[in-house]
Structures are given as structure tokens and as C-alpha cells.
Assembly symmetry: C2
Homo-oligomer: 125 residues x 2
DNA sequence: GTAATCAATTACCTCAAGGTAACCATTGGA
DNA sequence: TCCAATGGTTACCTTGAGGTAATTGATTAC
């Protein structure tokens, strides 16, 4: 039996659209591939995501935690040690998001070339 | 032979990171799944992407065209007829982006539940 | 005593994303 | 004569994303 989709990202008010906005996001993708191999500390993630500010990383991680994609573990130590790891739900995102990152890396030559060509056309116009 | 990656989305200045930001994007995902089945007119896309404004759709489509992911064909008719279709390069994105959209639709129950639980915890704190 | 450590949090600022609404050009038809 | 239709563009405004820098708190090493 085929399923009548209860959820449709193309519908403005569908919750899945908000969810899509969260996962179709560069920071989300970068966090997920960084945590793909296992738990990482806050500082390790910040270092991996070269250039992200502490504030943005904090809110990105909290959003992902809220949606059940990762688990935050704060150890009662001084100085504090906080670890983040993907939940089973978050792990199901590894495939699609790693594919996106790989796509970005592998197709850069075509993209750059298309961009040059487009800009050249625009200059002539 | 294994390849030394020339491009790395995790590096701040790498062009692939800009490219990732473009494809890991809700509008991009929605445009790609809308054009997955063949060319569509501007108005058809706007209708499919329930709620998008003309201005945002125009700039989204132009960005994708610039990166070589879709082709824009303006027919010399009145009133104007403009068609958009994925290029071969753009078609290689269908897999990953359709996967993301499907993920958003299929995992909404878990996400919503996780969100409720998180917010309940926050209220107690 | 005090500097360093780590993971935040907060206030403040800037800049880009995105929405609304008006406008354009062209032609067929009422 | 004037409106409808199409795919924009533009000006203007609001909202949100994201950056910087200062601060917190307990402990250890100096």
C-alpha cells in the first residue's frame, strides 16, 4: 500500500519544513560530520569547525540537542568538561549530510567554472 | 590510490564551504525536489514552494543558475514564459537533497517528541 | 596571591536574509 | 481604451544570523 504523506516539506505550515530548515544547514552538516566518529568536547568541535564563534556553536549545539539529534553530557569537573555525541536519531543523518559535504568538495571545479562563465556573461550584458 | 583531499568544507576559507552553504539550504532543497521531475515555469515553482516570496525565489534561482545547477530558458513570448530545469550537475544533487526532505518528513514524530521533552526539562530547571 | 583552564552566557553591534508593495513591458481581448 | 497576464526588478523596512568582547566559577600550578 502506498502511503498518504501526513507531512510535506513543501507546505508552508508543516512542521517538517521547520525541521528541514534545521538539518539543511551548513553548521548542522559540519557538526554532524565532526561527531560522526564519536563524542567530542566543545573545544574540539569549535576547533574542527574552523572559524565558528563560541556563541553560534553553543546555540547550534543546543538546537540539535533540543531536536534529539545529539546528547550533551556535562561532567562535574573543574575546569568543566562537556561532551557531545550523536543520538541514534542523529546518526541517521550522517549518510545524507556526509553526502552533501562530499558533493561540495567533489564538485567545486564544476561550480567554480559555472560561476566564472555566468559572471562573464553578466559582464557582457 | 587514496586521494589527498584538495578541498575541505571544514576549512574556513575553502570554496567548498561556500558551496556547502548554498546546497545545505532549505530553499535549494525545495527547488531541487520541485524540479526533479522536469522543467517548471517560474509561477509553477513559486506555487510549489508554498509561501516563498517572488524576490527570494528570483534570487534563489539565480544563485543556483550561477553555480551551474539549473538552466534558465526565457521564451520570447508575451506574456513572458520562463522555464527552469536541473542541469546534469544539478541532477546529481537530487539524491542527497531528496533524502534530506524525506528525513524531515519521516522523523517529525521523534523530533517533536524530543523537543517537548527538552522544553519540559527546561521549564523544571 | 594570582594566572590559567573550559564552557558557557550576556550585551552590544553589524550585516545579510527576507517580506511587502509598487512598478515595468507587451500584447490580446473585453 | 483599459485591464489581465507573466516574470521579473526595485525601494524600503523588519527580523534574524552571527561576530566581538567581557564575565562567571572552582580548582590547580606557579
Amino acid at each position: 500500500m502506498s502511503h498518504t504523506p501526513r507531512w510535506d516539506v513543501l507546505t508552508r505550515t508543516c512542521p517538517s519544513r521547520t525541521s528541514l530548515a534545521r538539518i539543511a544547514n551548513k553548521w548542522t552538516a559540519m557538526v554532524v560530520i565532526t561527531l560522526a566518529d564519536g563524542p567530542r568536547r566543545f573545544g574540539e568541535v569549535r576547533e574542527a569547525l574552523d572559524g565558528i564563534s563560541g556563541k553560534v556553536l553553543t546555540s547550534t549545539l543546543r538546537d540539535l540537542e533540543r531536536d534529539g539529534l545529539l546528547r550533551r553530557t556535562a561532567h562535574a569537573e573543574v575546569p568543566p568538561r562537556v561532551e557531545y555525541e550523536l543520538t541514534p536519531l542523529g546518526r541517521t543523518l550522517r549518510g545524507p549530510l556526509e553526502a552533501l559535504c562530499r558533493w561540495a568538495e567533489e564538485h567545486i571545479p564544476e561550480v567554480l567554472e559555472a560561476r566564472d562563465e555566468f559572471d562573464a556573461q553578466a559582464d557582457r550584458g
